[in-house]
């Protein structure tokens, strides 16, 4: 059974198409990255999966059931959600906030203590949320999402406001949850660092599905070049490569097809004046930029 299944799901808001025929299926234990510009349809997709809105056309299934249907009540116990910019209840302490949500979800108070410990808020549990930094609020939000050990986690911009170390910790937490069998949808426009932790990426643009697949599939599909940064004075490239090279400060920049990476590398290493070499593989960011450029060329944004 697929944990999440979208079939030709569409959503219109008063005539405006927020989402156009999206297909998606997610198996247990998968981590999906959901990417796109502002207004691309990320939040709409998440709301559809959470059952907060009904699709205008097509079908949405979560754990094999309609998330807006009569069984949604049971379904929601197995869901965890962290939304963008949640500010919680400023006057309550972190502990009180979590106690409240735990009660609503029907899980015991022991879990609250454990989760506060896990996200590193145990020391601040008795302080009011008002005094929390942005990162602490985000961690409180994460603890909230983890209440009741959800089988499906939806995280909307989870690392916004987290410092690099906290971001690292967060992604390691994701890896742990995945190992425990959780299915995770990660929605973000901060792309750096996400690659390692997602199994698949889904890129949305203006409500359309632009690309979907594992990182290696997408890298292949886009056929983006490998970039070499060559340092050294007066590097004489073989004539076949010269066309793809550009002069930069203190060296050359060379774009090469992925398939020719190794062959080119061997050629380059024989060059006498080469002092240093830096290889840049197409990253998630490059892939994303590639698709974004494509959609902009296809139809100008309204």
């Amino acid at each position: 059974m697929n944990i999440v299944e979208l079939q030709q799901a569409e959503k219109n808001y008063q005539g405006v198409e927020a989402l156009k025929s999206i297909d998606l299926s997610l198996q247990q234990g998968e981590v999906l990255g959901l990417f796109g510009h502002n207004g691309a349809g990320k939040t709409t997709t998440i709301k559809l999966i959470l059952g907060l809105i009904k699709p205008s056309a097509g079908q949405v299934r979560v754990f094999g059931e309609d998330p807006t249907g009569d069984n949604a009540y049971h379904l929601r116990r197995q869901l965890g959600f962290l939304q963008e910019n949640v500010s919680f209840y400023q006057q309550m302490t972190g502990r009180e906030v979590l106690d409240y949500f735990a009660k609503l979800k029907g899980c015991d108070k022991k879990q609250v203590t454990d989760l506060l410990e896990e996200v590193g808020l145990a020391h601040a549990a008795m302080r009011r949320v008002k005094t929390y930094s942005k990162g602490m609020r985000q961690r409180l939000g994460l603890a909230q999402a983890l209440l009741g050990q959800p089988k499906l986690l939806l995280l909307d911009e989870p690392t916004v406001g987290l410092d690099p170390i906290a971001t690292q910790d967060f992604y390691q937490g994701i890896a742990r949850l995945k190992a425990q069998g959780s299915t995770i949808i990660l929605c973000s426009h901060v792309l750096a660092g996400v690659e390692k932790y997602i199994d698949r990426a889904l890129i949305l643009g203006q409500g359309h599905l632009l690309a979907e697949g594992s990182l290696s599939t997408l890298t292949e599909q886009t056929n983006l070049p490998v970039t070499f940064h060559l340092q050294g004075s007066n590097i004489q490239l073989p004539s076949a490569l010269q066309a793809n090279a550009v002069d930069i400060n203190g060296g050359l920049k060379l774009h090469v097809n992925q398939q020719q990476k190794m062959a080119t590398l061997q050629q380059l290493l024989t060059l006498p004046s080469l002092e240093n070499i830096d290889i840049h593989m197409p990253s998630l960011e490059d892939i994303y930029t590639h698709y974004m450029n494509e959609v902009q060329h296809r139809e100008p944004p309204r």
């Binding site: 009540y73 949640v86 500010s87 309550m92």
Partner: protein, 275 residues
């Protein structure tokens, strides 16, 4: 049921935390005690006087204050959570929409009931202890009756405020609407009825006209309190009710209708709200 109580309990504790309960209790206690002591000042004497006079005047004062407090307490109940983003989050929890909105109202009702009992109850105790011509027994029933309907009046306006809160997108709009509702029920309505009487030189259907009073919960509340202390003279607009001779039952019934209708209204408006 559990979820409703969880939400209600949280709202009530919010009320304790941000001093709503304390402030409302204090206002009510001061209002009631002050009126009881100085109520007869106009006739040249201070001190605790006639109980029924006191409570009837208190009712006329309460219809200004109770709706205002109730509206202020609950106008941001739904729209405030929406603005802070927690409404969306709550809707992903195992919690139906009607449970959330009913829980919110119940929490506010608890705040209102608690503060009304404390506030007016305190003034009853003060009056009982210091007044020489009223015994505890004489005091108990009238005050219990008054407090019960003061609470119900507050509950009605909490439900109305929740209705407002569930139907708007911005907090400031909810505040504005709440103020308008207060103004209409407290001033405009009675003024228009009086205007109608004066304008037609009293030439209105005497049978039908009093029933218009039932369209305003604050008037119903005053009629209930006045009818309870039957010996009191009906003054002002209330005098038109003499023609109709509303029974206590019909007054209480219309008060209950005024309570249930906005509760259902708030639930149905919230069900239609877009997230």
């Amino acid at each position: 049921m559990n979820a409703i109580l969880t939400v209600a309990n949280k709202e009530f504790h919010d009320g304790l935390r941000n001093r709503w309960v304390m402030s409302i209790s204090l206002i009510f206690a001061l209002l009631a005690t002050g009126l009881a002591y100085f109520g007869a000042a106009a006739s040249g004497q201070a001190g605790f006087t006639n109980l029924s006079t006191t409570l009837v005047s208190l009712a006329s004062l309460a219809v200004f204050v109770i709706p205002l407090i109730a509206l202020m307490l609950a106008y941001d109940g739904v729209v405030g959570e929406d603005e802070s983003g927690t409404l969306l989050l709550l809707m992903t929890y195992p919690l139906s929409r009607w449970q959330l909105v009913l829980g919110k109202m119940m929490g506010h009702w608890m705040i209102m009931a608690f503060s009304t009992i404390i506030g007016f109850g305190l003034s009853a105790i003060i009056m009982g202890s210091f007044s020489e011509n009223t015994t505890w027994n004489e005091l108990l029933m009238p005050y219990a009756f008054f407090i019960t309907f003061a609470i119900l009046l507050g509950w009605i306006f909490i439900a109305i405020a929740t209705m407002i809160s569930a139907s708007v997108i911005e907090k400031s709009k909810a505040a504005g609407l709440a103020l308008i509702v207060w103004f209409i029920f407290i001033f405009m309505f009675d003024l228009s009825l009086l205007g109608l009487l004066v304008g037609t030189e009293g030439n209105v259907n005497a049978e039908l006209f009093p029933y218009l009073l039932l369209l305003n919960p604050t008037d119903v509340f005053r009629l209930i309190i006045i009818s309870f202390f039957a010996e009191q003279q009906l003054t002002g607009l209330m005098a038109v009710a003499q023609h109709a001779q509303f029974s206590m039952f019909s007054l209480i019934f219309s008060m209950l209708v005024w309570f249930i209708a906005p509760v259902l209204g708030a639930i149905s408006l919230f069900n239609k709200r877009k997230l």
